[in-house]
């Protein structure tokens, strides 16, 4: 009988100790707000393009954190963003959902300035205020501020906005990843490579 009592008491004691410990740490290490949304948001490319179906990057981040949305719906971020998100949220990295667009090379908007009629529609559409101009004045894109979201292309009534790929310069040029030799293992995703190496 006393053995049972001891066991019960010990368990109770343990429960008490751990309860106090947990309670203390929940106060001591309390995390303010929901930093996960901020973390997710900081991984998104901030183009605010809406290709994910959300009105901006932050709403998408919130949807991801609330488990309402998959992490593979951001074409501007591409695979690297998906991997970063997967890493952060500890979920499987999935390939980009092609429904929301393909991953494209980085582009910036250019306004063909002699065709611009100065309607300011693109200025209103630009989420980062990267277009400069006034009513009836020629508009121009501040290239360094443009995120390439192409939200300004649609509203232009005279179609004078082009999305041009960013040309590599001597300074932006980079070495490509070395061509994989024949050491690729069976899990490689491109089955054609091995045959190429054979040939």
């Amino acid at each position: 009988m006393s053995a049972v009592l001891i066991a019960v008491l010990v368990l109770l004691g343990l429960g008490l100790v751990f309860g106090i410990l947990l309670g203390y740490s929940s106060i001591r290490f309390k995390v303010e707000g929901n930093p996960l949304v901020d973390q997710v948001d900081s991984l998104l490319p901030q183009t605010q393009c809406g290709q994910c179906g959300h009105p901006g990057c932050r709403p998408y981040a919130e949807a991801i954190v609330n488990n309402e949305e998959a992490i593979n719906k951001c074409p501007p971020g591409g695979q690297s963003t998906i991997e970063a998100l997967a890493d952060l949220l500890d979920v499987e990295a999935t390939p980009l959902d092609s429904e929301h667009g393909e991953e494209q090379i980085k582009k910036v908007a250019y306004i063909r300035e002699d065709e611009c009629i100065g309607c300011t529609k693109c200025i209103q559409a630009c989420p980062v205020d990267a277009i400069l101009g006034a009513a009836k004045q020629m508009h121009t894109v501040i290239v360094s501020e443009c995120t390439g979201c192409d939200l300004c292309v649609e509203p232009c009534p005279v179609d004078c906005i082009d999305m041009l790929p960013i040309e590599p310069t001597l300074n932006s040029w980079q070495w490509p990843v070395p061509k994989s030799g024949v050491e690729l293992i069976a899990t490689d995703r491109h089955p054609g490579i091995a045959q190429e190496a054979d040939a």
Binding site: V182, E183, A194, Q195, D198
Partner: protein, 347 residues
């Protein structure tokens, strides 16, 4: 001639992975010769049989993976695995023991992980451990060294050995098998070490064979060190740690624990220190890491030999330390130039 554009450097030292492996194979020759000399043709046959199997299996799997066969076979890593396994197996182990071992080593421990360079465990040791656990009888009956018969070349003849390995010739073989010194030491019952030697006079008479084989492996290891195939860190750390621990216990309880010399020169200590623990793929990376890695093996070898269930421990010790290698790597990064402290852990 059309010019090419290619990344620097444009100069390369001669040599390839294949040549590294070949050097390792050359370094095993003294050991192989000693084994053949003292324990008969068995080891040589095992090595050849294993090599044959390993090459065939490797080729088949590489073909299955749609990779160039000759490119992969010429790195000789399969041969190295087979030779090491052959050296480790008892000379008269039946042919199917080796077959199972090679299948485990090449197919499971190596190729399933992605082939050379990607295996976390030493393939030969995975195979050896599996065989030891699965077939304890076959794996513990060692050939008797020829010195014991006292009449020169009286080891089992080539034909008898072949039939022992590939046939079912039991009797002829039985006369030529016995337990290894480590086995005897392990299962000596209540005897002290001294009493054990008295009890097993035959073994005491033939222990020199094991010493000689160990010396041969040591020579091979020194050759590899000279060739800079590996650095001194792993083998030295392993041998030193084994010596230190065995000395400690020998001094404390000389009648319960064998002397360090016994530990260093019997079983697979030397083979393990120079040919198995130094396998670069599965060991720690940095010099500091290799010291920890080697020391860990030495300690585990001593622990398992002294208190474990199995007579020899190199395979288990190496496998256990293989497990630890990534962890060791994370905490033994060298201090890079211009940094006050080395990095630790992983980000």
């Amino acid at each position: 001639m059309a010019l090419i554009r290619i990344t620097s450097p444009h100069a390369h030292r001669a040599g390839s992975t294949g040549s590294v492996m070949l050097t390792v194979l050359i370094a095993t020759l003294p050991g192989l010769a000693a084994m053949t000399f003292f324990f008969g043709w068995g080891t040589l046959i095992q090595v050849m049989w294993g090599t044959l199997l390993a090459l065939g299996l490797e080729a088949a799997i590489v073909k299955l993976r749609k990779r160039p066969v000759s490119f992969y076979l010429t790195d000789y890593s399969a041969v190295v695995t087979a030779v090491l396994l052959g050296l480790a197996l008892p000379p008269f182990a039946p042919w199917w023991v080796m077959t199972v071992g090679i299948i485990v080593a090449i197919a499971i421990a190596k190729q399933l992980y992605g082939g050379m360079g990607n295996n976390p465990f030493n393939p030969a040791m995975v195979a050896y451990a599996l065989l030891l656990v699965s077939f304890p009888v076959q794996m513990t009956s060692w050939a008797a060294p020829f010195v014991m018969t006292g009449e020169g070349w009286s080891v089992l003849s080539m034909g008898d050995t072949l039939s022992a390995i590939f046939g079912t010739a039991g009797a002829a073989v039985d006369a030529h098998t016995m337990a290894t010194p480590l086995d005897v030491m392990r299962h000596r019952g209540g005897f002290t070490t001294e009493e054990m030697w008295v009890e097993n006079a035959l073994l005491a008479n033939g222990i020199g064979a094991w010493h000689a084989v160990s010396a041969a492996y040591f020579m091979g290891g020194v050759f590899l060190l000279y060739k800079k195939i590996f650095t001194w860190h792993t083998p030295v750390a392993m041998l030193v740690s084994l010596t230190v621990f065995s000395t400690l216990f020998f001094l404390l309880m000389p009648d319960q624990y064998p002397d360090p010399f016994f530990h260093l020169t019997t079983g697979a200590t030397m083979l393990g220190a120079f040919f198995i623990a130094t396998d670069p793929v599965t060991s720690a990376t940095s010099n500091k890491g290799k010291l920890w890695f080697g020391a860990g093996i030495g300690l585990l070898v001593f622990v398992i030999r002294s208190w474990g269930n199995y007579p020899d421990a190199v395979a288990f010790a190496v496998l256990l330390m293989n497990l630890c290698a990534p962890f060791i790597d994370q905490y033994t990064q060298p201090r890079s130039y211009g940094h006050a402290k080395p990095n630790r852990g992983m980000k």
